[in-house]
């Protein structure tokens, strides 16, 4: 599929989701189960993206110390957990990976 068409359809889907209940005037309430399920979607989707990004840097599972992304991510998780600060989390993670890459590139 053409990337512009894909983008347009993705935009239409997103808009329809946002318009959904506003358009049908909230007559029907969301069932409690659906509400709970929808609340779980963001952590599930975002973690499903993070795990392969961090643990499979070369499309293969890598739990070794040589996987800098894993080390940096563990540090980032700790920072995010303790501080809840988005910018600080990203900064610490990036600094860690730059530092580790820098050490590697030394002769």
């Amino acid at each position: 599929m053409n990337i512009w068409l894909t983008m347009l359809l993705a935009g239409l889907v997103t808009f329809s989701i946002r318009l959904s209940f506003i358009w049908i005037v909230g007559q029907r309430a969301v069932s409690p189960t659906l509400r709970r399920a929808l609340r779980l979607v963001p952590p599930a989707v975002l973690t499903a993206i993070v795990f392969p990004e961090v643990l499979m840097p070369a499309a293969r599972l890598d739990f070794s110390l040589g996987n800098y992304r894993l080390l940096a991510a563990i540090l980032a998780v700790l920072v995010a957990w303790r501080t809840r600060n988005t910018v600080l989390t990203i900064l610490v993670g990036m600094l860690t990976i730059w530092l580790l890459q820098g050490i590697l590139s030394l002769p």
Partner: protein, 264 residues
Amino acid sequence: MKSITQVKNKRMRPRCSLPPRWSVPPLIAEFFRGVRAELPILVGVAPFGMIFGVLALEAGLLPIQAQSMSWIVFAGSSQIVFSQLVHLGAPGWVIVLTVGVVNLRHALYSASLAPYLQRLRPAWKWLLSYLLTDEAYAVAVVNYQRSPEPAVLAANEQRIPSAPDLRHWYFLGAGLALWSCWQLSTAAGVFLGAVIPQSWSLDFTLALTFIALVVPNLTDRPTLVAALCAGGAALLAFSAPYKLGLIIAALVGVLAGLLVEAKA
């Protein structure tokens, strides 16, 4: 009857006492109150928009495509996922489906605001739905729950013109402030992405951004289980056909979270 008149008088008095040359049209004032309420949130949104711009270019999108996505799709996390899937070579229908799943949570916001927007004209409903992001919702819903409900008065006694409900102007101000920030920060990211070399590993900001978004919200067992199961399933389903692994993993995570919640 008497009480309605009293409320009406109370409402009218301050506005009448203002000399005309000092009065800002109330809907403009309401609009800018919304803009002001959104400003602190923009501090966090701007870096996110820049990260999207950088990642979109690294994934192989053209600058014009990255910039356009920010107003066509206009939903942060899902735009990053979109670029990621383009990079992995996923087919279009999988990308559309995945974006839909990532944005499903907006149905909750839609349901929560629907009662307040009931009386607006269709054009307003469409416009505000387009602007219904996480960040605009957070600001608008607080305003709706806090300020009084003139619409109820009007419904009780239709012949008495009560103070008009202007809270949709507040919502519009918050939504447009966020929209502008998102477009500008995407542009900044697209510019940076073209300048910064690949060796800086900027694609790692994707994982870091999502870690920063998720970890502070892992406050109860169902959420934690949903996240961990989805992560594990994503590793197992990584080579699933059509790059459907992400959707499969999300479903596994949500089901696991619901099961834990049902047991508790």
